[in-house]
């Protein structure tokens, strides 16, 4: 069992590092937004969890998930929790202020001074959250196994270091979290929850979807290299219904890119199969006009891959 916590100073694009690390080490990525969703599902509402109980709620959730998956987690302060798990690693990205300002300028379309104000706000928020939930405003360097400079190292190189540390520690040789260790952790957490009147549902689970074909993997690599956040098949849209109004057919676009709010469908299959796909996309657009979707056909995709120097041959799905 491996639980890798990825943390970093605001503006270091921690989510991107975590995504790359999860992909490289074949871990399940648990982003802050996904973890908040899981907390809502498990405890009814995240707001029902007192700040002091949040570390216990996170431990309870991660213990359930680590029974079935190797995890890569991003959440403020989670690096203080993961040492409770038998095989864990904590990595932190840091960078000079001007570099982090540059990232915020680009990501939020800001000029330098507004970006500086945003950075100060993000830093204050992080300190406040840590203080409120974990009783400390800062986390000292000795709480990390690995600290990397995001300015001098490319994201790929930082992930190389995380990968090396994970192998050196033998993290990936461990099996999943043993049931008896999960039971110990859950017992401890339930004692804590009783103080706050919290009852976890005990049903936390991840829905995982492997890539359907090699082209999707190549496309995901391309997005990762260009630091574009993506989600794989996050949503299915009903496109046909029976007379009773029950959905009978769904369309699930391959990727969702949150920043441009764009769905992407890769159609690298043979032309004979494209017509059916086109019909579905047309139907999706007519039923959900607010949805922004782009279809990349085989030739488009090959051009993209060729132009951006990917070595892999694009194979028809």
């Amino acid at each position: 069992m491996a639980v890798i916590a990825i943390a970093g100073q605001p503006g270091c694009r921690v989510d991107q590092l975590a995504r790359l690390a999860a992909q490289r080490l074949q871990l399940e990525l648990i982003t802050e937004s996904k973890l908040r969703q899981l907390l809502n599902d498990e405890f009814g509402s995240e707001s029902a969890i007192p700040a002091k109980a949040l570390p216990h709620a996170l431990t309870c959730l991660l213990a359930q998930l680590a029974r079935r998956h190797h995890l890569c987690v991003v959440f403020p302060g989670v690096e203080l929790i993961v040492p409770r798990f038998p095989a864990s690693l904590r990595a932190c990205a840091v960078a000079a202020e001007h570099f982090r300002l540059g990232n915020l300028m680009l990501d939020d379309h800001l000029e330098r001074e507004p970006a500086r104000a945003l950075l100060a706000q993000l830093e204050a928020q992080r300190k406040q959250t840590l203080k409120r939930c974990f009783g400390r405003a800062t986390i000292p360097p000795d709480r990390y196994d690995l600290i990397a400079n995001a300015e001098t190292l490319e994201p790929d190189q930082i992930v190389d270091m995380i990968e090396g540390a994970a192998y050196a520690q033998g993290l990936l040789r461990h099996g999943l979290l043993p049931p008896e260790r999960e039971a110990e952790l859950q017992f401890e957490m339930r004692l804590q929850f009783s103080r706050h009147g919290l009852t976890p549902a005990g049903t936390a689970a991840l829905v995982t979807r492997p890539f359907a074909n090699h082209s999707e993997q190549v496309f995901a690599n391309l997005l990762d290299f260009y630091r574009i956040a993506w989600e794989y098949e996050p949503k299915s849209f009903p496109v046909e219904w029976d007379k009773a109004g029950k959905p009978t057919e769904f369309f699930t676009p391959d990727f969702y890119l949150p920043e441009p709010d764009l769905y992407v469908e890769l159609t690298t299959m043979k032309q004979a199969h494209v017509t059916r796909k086109n019909r579905k996309v047309k139907r999706l657009r007519s039923l959900y006009p607010s949805i922004n979707i782009q279809v990349f056909y085989q030739k488009d995709f090959q051009n993209l891959v060729f132009k951006h120097g990917l070595s892999e041959q694009v194979l028809p799905a």
Binding site: F99, L101, R112, F296, L310
Partner: protein, 180 residues
């Protein structure tokens, strides 16, 4: 002799007059936006050379220029593509208002890579000016402040845009014949 042959174009998308008129409009907008500021325009080699030259000639405000070139190559270690700067800027951009000048923005991936690189060098602001904006294949969100023309999903040449390094010097923008 192929060099003397007519370019294999289907139709002219924007005439020389239309291109020049639009460049003058964009130059006026840049003048307005950057008046009193320290503007540096960065061209991406090779495609942006013609556009950058025409644009800067139409500007009234003083401006500095510099150039970047990128190359892409495949990584043998993994399947991830790699893009690297083949020619870096000659001067630092710290504290300057930087406008990246492109001939065309398509998927936006290249421009985004360059902006990320430039963002870490402490400019005062960072924007994009492109002659052509082909949004139908956009993947990366970009702060495009100035664009001359938005174009449909066609392969175009001229005004710096090439097909196998040719036709950059056409004074108009044209759609290539299908199947070329």
């Amino acid at each position: 002799m192929s060099g003397a042959a007519s370019p294999p174009i289907e139709r002219v998308l924007f005439t020389e007059e239309q291109v020049n008129a639009r460049i003058r409009e964009i130059a006026a907008a840049i003048d307005e936006h950057y008046r009193g500021r320290d503007l540096k325009m960065i061209g991406v080699l090779k495609g942006s050379v013609y556009f950058l030259t025409a644009l800067t000639r139409a500007l009234a405000i003083p401006v500095k220029i510099d150039f970047l070139a990128i190359s892409s190559f495949a990584s043998a270690r993994n399947s991830r593509g790699l893009v690297r700067i083949a020619k870096d800027l000659d001067e630092p951009i710290e504290g300057e208002d930087v406008l990246l000048v492109e001939d065309i923005v398509d998927s936006g991936l290249t421009a985004r890579y360059l902006l990320q690189t430039l963002a870490g060098r402490a400019p005062n602001s960072l924007g994009v000016c492109t002659m052509l904006d082909r949004t139908s294949r956009r993947l990366a969100p970009l702060p495009i402040e100035f664009r001359c023309f938005e174009i449909p999903d066609h392969f175009v040449v001229g005004c710096g845009l090439d097909y196998k390094q040719r036709y950059r010097n056409l004074p108009y923008i044209a759609v290539m014949k299908p199947g070329v």
